[in-house]
């Protein structure tokens, strides 16, 4: 059946099977490979993207796209990590992850970054504890999380002050 949505600012209309999951739609139909299939059981957060409904404010809320049907995104705006950088300039959260070494192998990073972007849109000035709780739905098996938390706090600071991270 036909799904019509906006992905990273581009309007799309695609014929999909009802059982197609949003993660597979993004990766295989749209060719966007940033969001990863990790645990495939709504736990690890590697597939996190932002979803925004018509009339909703802001950039959207973080969702695990392995547990959303493509059809449930009908009429919605979806943003993946590919849609964050504007004109080649890294998004402040991306820049902060690079600056603070918030990744090692990189597999969790697109989901981690999208979860962080969603977190900061809901809470632009989080405490360290709020960052840790806000990223509860994202697993990283390399970093021990410290640099990720530092990166999110640095991104929040940069976004508040308008400085680049």
């Amino acid at each position: 059946m036909q799904v019509e949505l906006t992905v990273n600012g581009q309007r799309r209309s695609d014929d999909v099977e009802p059982r197609l999951l949003l993660i597979h739609y993004l990766r295989e139909v749209c060719g966007l490979r940033a969001a990863n299939v990790g645990c495939d059981t709504t736990s690890c957060g590697a597939c996190t993207v932002l979803m925004k409904g018509p009339g909703e404010e802001g950039g959207g809320t973080s969702v695990k796209s392995c547990t959303v049907l493509a059809m449930q995104a009908n009429g919605q705006q979806v943003t993946t990590a590919e849609g964050l950088a504007a004109d080649g300039d890294l998004h402040p959260v991306q820049a902060a992850f690079r600056q603070e070494h918030g990744l090692q192998c990189g597999f969790c990073t697109p989901g981690m970054v999208m979860a962080a972007v969603g977190l900061l849109s809901e809470n632009p000035d989080p405490t360290e504890a709020e960052v840790r709780e806000g990223l509860e739905g994202n697993f990283c098996r390399c970093t021990g999380y410290h640099n990720i938390v530092r990166a999110v706090l640095a991104a929040a600071e940069a976004e508040r002050t308008g400085a680049s991270a």
Partner: protein, 269 residues
């Protein structure tokens, strides 16, 4: 993991969803946030032939006060329940319970009605609704009927909904300023309760101590008779037959119920 094939229909209204339920019969399932149903379908533990999507119906979302109750649309996501100023002021136990479900992404999609309809005895919201003495409005072709939480949970992952009914709204009494306690024992972040206890206004509800959320009746009666929280808590597991799994055997669950009930009755969360 890919679910078995199914047909998908987006309902245009709650009454349209009821008509679709009628025409497709018992093989159809309602889909709201899908955060209980889709994982079951991916594991092929569920294989409905049709999904009727009610997740974007404005008439099934929202939070309002109505006399002495708060009324929450069934398709309202956990994040909205957890952060609502109205719920945090007038039913803080419910807001706290919603904040304990899964993780932020799950709370953005999962809905209060979906969690209640799924009726997982280890889940947060069924226990919270029982503790609060809340109820659900069930919409069917014959109209709306209101079912108290104590009568909603019929068995393991089973409710008393008729096949042609949907949960339209959830009602909880307003209890601003009333002391409450909420205890959830987990071994891993984001997990379901190995045992959970919610207590408010003389009621004590237990999660994962049987096939449905349960009232700790003996402990409640002791409290009403003037027993201390510690004395009443000793009776929390009376009459329960909890299951056993890799996390806990029966005796350990009964021990947890007593300890967590004491903490809940001391208004800890």
């Amino acid at each position: 993991m890919i679910p078995a094939p199914f047909d998908y229909v987006a309902a245009e209204s709650a009454t349209h969803a009821l008509d679709l339920l009628d025409s497709y019969g018992e093989d159809a399932k309602l889909l709201a946030g899908g955060h209980s149903l889709l994982p079951m379908m991916k594991l092929r533990l569920a294989a409905p032939s049709v999904l009727i999507d009610i997740g974007r119906l404005a008439e099934l979302t929202g939070i309002r006060a109505e006399g002495g109750e708060l009324v929450i649309g069934a398709a309202t996501p956990h994040a909205a329940v957890a952060t609502s100023d109205l719920i945090r002021a007038d039913a803080p136990l419910l807001a706290h319970s919603a904040s304990q479900v899964g993780d932020p992404q799950i709370r953005h999609r999962g809905t209060i009605g979906g969690s209640l309809a799924h009726a997982d005895p280890a889940a947060d919201l069924p226990m919270a609704l029982v503790a609060l003495g809340g109820s659900v409005d069930l919409l069917g072709q014959a109209g709306t009927r209101n079912v108290p939480a104590d009568d909603l949970f019929a068995g393991f992952f089973e409710t008393s909904l008729d096949p042609g009914e949907l949960i339209a709204a959830v009602r909880v009494p307003r209890s601003p300023g009333m002391a409450w306690g909420y205890q959830k024992f987990v071994r891993r972040a984001n997990d379901w309760a190995i045992v959970g206890v919610a207590a408010i206004d003389g009621r004590i509800a237990l999660a994962n101590m049987g096939p449905t959320p349960l009232r700790a009746r003996a402990a409640e009666q002791a409290l009403a008779g003037g027993a201390s929280p510690a004395e009443a808590a000793e009776l929390a597991a009376d009459g329960t037959e909890p299951g056993e799994d890799v996390h806990a055997d029966r005796d350990y669950r009964r021990h947890l119920a007593r300890v967590l009930t004491r903490r809940a009755l001391e208004h800890r969360a």
